[in-house]
């Protein structure tokens, strides 16, 4: 008997199995996103932009129009596209380095202008593709290649709390949430609301997804899951931070 894995309809079969490391959180995050796109029936209208870092591996991940951009620059590319074609549904997909470090000015200003786009950011507390350096989201005490003795928060500050920052900047009509791969059904729900918010033309939408990186964390399956579910969520509270009126009843 052959078991065919359940894939979202908008996933591109030809590029599967995907290229992420075993145990990587991106796969689950993208599964939730794929299901959200399917359930909203928006595959034909989506333009998916992916950043540099591990997120670039999504350049042919979906059967949707896709552009792979530069590190941190996915938000302006999708902003420019959406401004030029308001019928498109623009998704900018990035990691925590792309969104909170090199591209933070774009995230902040897209939120401030209430751009009608959806930014999805996978937070795995490190720069994965380049070999596991410290990221804006690295937890205090967490060891990475550039914080080999653990992140010293007194010296280089505490981790960036992205959705909290975006919610503070966010205008009326913006949707902001933090989900986790540890609760995939909830994460999918956040993605659906974020995309619905764009379809409604209400405002900017932003979802951070807590994701795993066992390769750079050097963790086994049990410790990986434990880190996402128990360590990360202590600092990065899961939940909705800003919900526009029309989505409150959903």
């Amino acid at each position: 008997m052959t078991l065919n894995p359940q894939m979202p309809k908008c996933w591109r079969v030809e590029s599967k199995p995907h290229k992420f490391c075993p145990g990587c959180g991106h796969g689950l995050v993208l599964k939730a996103l794929g299901e959200a796109i399917d359930e909203l029936g928006i595959q034909d209208r989506v333009v998916f932009g992916c950043d540099i870092g591990c997120s670039l591996l999504t350049w042919d991940f979906f059967d949707v129009d896709t552009v792979q951009t530069h590190h941190g620059r996915t938000t302006p590319v999708i902003t420019g596209l959406k401004r030029a074609n308001p019928d498109a549904i623009g998704i900018a997909y990035m990691g925590d380095g792309g969104g909170y470090a090199i591209g933070s000015q774009h995230l902040v200003n897209a939120a401030a202008r209430n751009e009608k786009i959806t930014v999805i950011l996978a937070n795995n507390t490190n720069y994965g593709m380049t070999g596991g350096q410290m990221a804006p989201t690295t937890l205090p005490g967490q060891k990475t290649e550039t914080s080999p003795y653990g992140r010293d928060a007194e010296d280089i500050g505490y981790p960036t709390q992205g959705p909290e920052m975006v919610a503070a900047i966010g205008q009326k009509g913006a949707y902001v949430a933090r989900g986790t791969m540890a609760n995939i059904r909830q994460l999918k729900g956040y993605f659906k609301k974020a995309l619905q918010n764009q379809m409604d033309g209400t405002g900017f939408s932003f979802v951070e997804a807590l994701a795993s990186c066992p390769t750079n964390w050097r963790t086994n399956a049990k410790d990986t899951w434990n880190f996402v579910e128990n360590e990360m969520s202590k600092y990065f509270a899961v939940g909705e931070l800003k919900v526009p009126d029309q989505l409150k009843e959903v």
Binding site: D65, G80, R83, Q105
Partner: protein, 361 residues
């Protein structure tokens, strides 16, 4: 509301920045993305005043990186889009334009050169030649028109959109602060009324249709996995760029056939060079004038023929040898001596050129 911005041909007395805004309207540009930097600001000022009357859009971004990347987004959506910048803004602009170069995205950028390095002056220079022709981590697969008059600013801004969309290489209009701020008369016109066909933009992403039914999704990237894969891509671009170059190359010359010395200059400086040539000819000096209009691709063949046929070249520019570097590269192998008159960040008058030529002959 959506009537044509320009009907018939009109004589106007405008600043260069105003000319660019009019030209973009005439070229049926859909959207401008911009970030303030002197001396290009009034392009945005005029665009934001005029564009809404014709259903055109504008977005003020958070920096030039964003201005460049949003322009890319607009182009990918199938709209004629452009931005304008200068100096340190041009430095930042090289990042998005390197992506446009790699992905063959027909962006148009207007540069009004200011002094450099760094913040320098907000006024004038020709110090952005190297950056505009070969900036970014690439091979200079772009088209650069260096304008000298307001009429040319109008003509070449319209042409830049056609060149970009026809050949799909990023295209620059290279002006400067003097051209930006100076007021002079020119004729503005509707290009189509003059028989100039405007190239229609087409979307790369968000095309109409249903995926898997009547269209396939488009996946575009600038990352490649192996050296060989990248080599194939870059060499393919190089071949194509070389093939189309003869169709794009433009230059201007006067009195070169019997000239004992030829003045080589570009942009606004070539006006002084042309005036000097005319004055010296009247006085009986055998002086010629050569001006590349396209700095990329460079008019190599003609430049070599001119250099081979004269005794000396005098390269004149408001930079410390950026045009000179291009010329040297293009005429390598010839033994014609090159003299220079280089004034980084400062204007050049015809009197200075005349004096210099007299000292050389």
């Amino acid at each position: 509301m959506t009537e044509k911005p320009i009907q018939g041909e009109r004589k106007m007395f405008l600043t260069g920045n105003e000319v660019v805004a009019w030209a973009a309207l005439a070229a049926k540009v859909d959207i401008m993305y911009g970030y303030p930097i002197t001396p290009q600001n009034e392009i945005m000022h005029y665009w934001t005043r005029m564009a809404p009357k014709y259903g055109k859009k504008f977005l003020q971004t958070e920096d030039e990186l964003s201005a460049g990347f949003t322009t890319i987004g607009g182009v990918l959506a199938g709209k004629k889009a452009f931005t304008a910048t200068a100096g340190p803004g041009n430095t930042l602009m090289q990042e998005p334009i390197s992506m446009a170069e790699m992905m063959r995205i027909p962006t148009v950028v207007v540069i009004q050169q200011r002094g450099g390095p760094s913040t320098a002056t907000v006024i004038y220079s020709q110090q952005e030649v190297t950056m505009t022709t070969y900036g970014g981590n690439g091979e200079g697969f772009r088209v650069v028109y260096s304008t000298a008059t307001h009429q040319e600013l109008f003509d070449y801004t319209i042409k830049a959109f056609n060149t970009a969309w026809k050949y799909r290489f990023p295209t620059f209009v290279l002006g400067d602060g003097y051209q930006a701020k100076m007021r002079e008369s020119l004729h503005i016109y509707d290009p189509e009324e003059k028989g100039i066909k405007l190239v229609e933009p087409t979307p790369t992403l968000s095309r109409p249709g249903q995926i898997g039914v009547n269209r396939e999704p488009n996946h575009i990237r600038n990352t490649y996995n192996t050296e060989e894969e990248l080599y194939q891509i870059v060499m393919g671009y190089a071949k194509e760029y070389a093939e189309i170059s003869p169709e794009i190359i433009e230059f201007q010359e006067q009195d070169v056939d019997d000239a004992e010395i030829v003045i080589v200059s570009h942009g606004v400086v070539s006006r002084a060079a042309l005036a000097a040539t005319q004055e010296l000819r009247k006085a009986g000096y055998k002086v010629g004038y050569f001006r590349p209009i396209t700095l990329r691709p460079f008019p190599t063949e003609r430049m070599r023929a001119v250099a081979a046929n004269t005794k000396k070249l005098l390269v004149v520019e408001s930079a410390l040898g950026q045009l000179n570097k291009l010329v040297l590269n293009e005429i390598y192998g010839l033994t014609t001596p090159i003299e220079t008159l280089l004034k980084p960040g400062v204007g050049v008058t015809s009197e200075e050129i005349v004096t210099r030529i007299k000292s050389l002959l």
